[in-house]
Symmetry: C2
Subunit: 399 residues, 2 copies
């Protein structure tokens, strides 16, 4: 298969050229046209935009699947399917602060989903992001306080017992908690990336510990000790230290103002910024729940969910319908569209923060994260309105 | 007079050359030596550093004089004298939040000091910085709460009645207070610079009002609504808007951490940074006073002041002795030395933030703020340890 466009974003430059794909891999990327090809293997996207697929390192659920609320292999597979429809080609299903036994079950289920996965079933499941349970109650956000516990290598090992450790790609923790340093060193030895999140760490603590294996921070500004000029906190450390990555999630402007994001971009540049969604698959909650940021009460109703808005309006959505659920949460593509508009980013910037940096952060840039020879053909096509035209996962079209 | 050195900092470059001074003005600046000169008019500083003199836009007192505590023409003249000994060649004696009648008296006294000033008496008195009284009680810092009042053009005009309005160079106010916009417009029409300080203004208020004549912020980070990712506050506005100047004072690391300063430098560059001291002449307090940051109780004792440190030690200092008082507060030169060390600045950076930017901020760059032809010969000489060798004020040596 040969994909052709006048706007293909490779890491070094935008080219007017083609991508040749064989067995799910990119085998040629060049300007112009191949020396030799058959007309029927060529797909010409004209001047539509070709980007590396988005990588979501932090999502608990989206649209038809919620790992958080359903906790099944099937829910992860549904996430794969739904994520592919918003430009995500690979992701880390993410856990939260929960009982160790609950997390164990979730890991076993996710492991099953990984085994079941094929390029035909949706976005690739790269492994797991463990967000907690070793986080600080003081900055729990929407995590469950009773399950925020102190770090422990022993508890960690017990918790991940159902799954091979190399499936754990990322862990969010609070480094100021007792036992954190030992766990960070343990994770580092196993090449598991560590992000600071839900943390009251102060600047000096981070300064002392970061070189032991802390890569960056989870949902920059949210769930962390904020910036102050006499105690820079987690946010200040992320701004100050150029080697720490800052993850931004769901850029609606609700949780972090565009100007705060812009300040971060200007001080850090884009080389240490990653984008994620941190969506949870809200439609799949088990109990009626009020969402204070969205000002909506979610009420489960069998195969449906009822959304009661504070303004009195009501919706009834099918939990198995992607189209019904698309607007329940801000998905990856919409987040990209918002960022481009609010923060004046171009497609090259997006390729960097959504694909290249995310891949580098969990050390899979040798096979993902850019349109280059020998990488997986994880590619998306956007039209001039930034709407998704096609998602290729290892060369397999999803739409 | 001709000053020669291998390290003369002009705005565009450091030169190995000379500065020719006539009638207090710089008439030539060039590399090498003048075409024609007499040996006895040349002062050769070898490889010592020649900088434009520091400009302090925000000082309430220093060493032997305190405008805040003594409130006399003589106290301002004493400030001139002491400031020249730490590299300051011109300054704005600054008022605080006080009774209108008190400020009126202070302005009359400062006006007298300006009339009495000559280049032989010390640093030039450029005019007045009115810090308040139109500031917010919520962020009063060490200002007197009972004298923090709402902005009013009428009260302003009454307050400055004893002095010509063109002697008012800068006003610090809280733009969120009722009446502020009208006053800002009034100040702008009279070419009086406006800084935000002691203010709870939010980002949007500043965004709306800044183009009416707000130049920047007073003592960045201190006495202002801090940065938050959902409400950027005054600090966030100063970080975000490139056209706002940020003033930093007394860089001891106590009030604002070097890393917070560094973050500001990295995001704004140095073009919108000014340096000041915000010293008050602590030795001249009228009542025994505990200084919580310095952990010292100051007890007046006739011509002396007793400093009782929390650690039990005690000092008795002569209020008329510069040498006795030099270390009571961090002066301009010490602040520069700290900044260079903690924030990795060089002399060209210092010339920019201490002289060029301060002069531009109050619109006197046509005659101050750099070593250039047709400017006042306000020049300082530093040795390799950054100790002051000489201060020239309009060509008159001070040491």
């Amino acid at each position: 298969m040969i994909i052709k466009s006048t706007n293909i974003y490779t890491p070094l430059r935008k080219i007017d050229g083609y991508i040749k794909i064989e067995n799910g891999q990119i085998v040629e990327v060049a300007a112009g046209l191949p020396a030799d090809y058959e007309e029927n293997e060529l797909i010409d996207y004209g001047d539509q935009t070709i980007l590396p697929g988005f990588i979501d390192l932090h999502t608990h659920g989206f649209a038809t699947g919620s790992f958080t609320h359903q906790q099944t292999a099937d829910s992860v597979t549904e996430m794969s399917k739904s994520l592919a429809k918003v430009g995500v080609t690979s992701f880390l299903p993410s856990t939260g602060a929960d009982a160790i036994s609950t997390i164990q079950n979730m890991l076993a289920e996710a492991d099953q989903a990984m085994k079941d996965w094929t390029p035909n079933t949706g976005a690739e499941i790269l492994g797991i992001h463990l967000e907690g349970p070793f986080i600080n109650k003081e900055y729990k956000g929407m995590q469950k306080e009773e399950h925020c516990i102190d770090p422990s290598v022993e508890v960690f090992e017990e918790m991940i017992e159902p799954i091979s450790i190399d499936k754990i790609k990322l862990m969010t923790l609070a480094p100021e908690l007792p036992g954190a340093l030992e766990l960070i060193q343990h994770l580092n030895r196993h090449r598991i990336q560590v992000s600071i999140g839900h943390s009251a760490a102060n600047f000096d603590e981070i300064k002392e510990m970061k070189d032991y294996g802390i890569g960056g921070v989870t949902h920059m500004f949210s769930g962390m000790k904020g910036f102050h000029h006499r105690e820079l906190g987690v946010a200040g450390a992320a701004l100050y230290f150029n080697d720490l990555y800052s993850e931004f999630s769901k850029q609606t402007g609700l949780t972090v103002l565009p100007e705060a994001i812009d300040i971060t971009f200007r001080i850090k540049g884009l080389d240490r910024i990653t984008l994620c969604t941190d969506t949870v698959g809200l439609a799949h909650i088990k109990e009626p729940t009020y969402h204070y940021i969205r000002q909506i009460t979610f009420i489960p109703d069998g195969d449906y969910v009822i959304l009661k808005h504070d303004d009195g309006t009501e919706e009834r959505l099918n939990k198995k319908s992607f189209d019904d659920l698309l607007d329940v949460e801000v998905g990856y593509l919409e987040s990209v569209q918002n960022l481009m508009q609010n923060n004046d980013l171009d497609f090259a910037d997006i390729a960097k923060i959504a694909s290249e940096n995310t891949a580098k952060y969990i050390d899979i840039y040798d096979r993902k994260g850019s349109i280059e020879v020998n990488k997986d053909a994880d590619i998306i096509v956007l039209d001039k309105d930034k709407k998704l035209v096609q998602t290729y996962i290892q060369g397999t079209p999803q739409l």
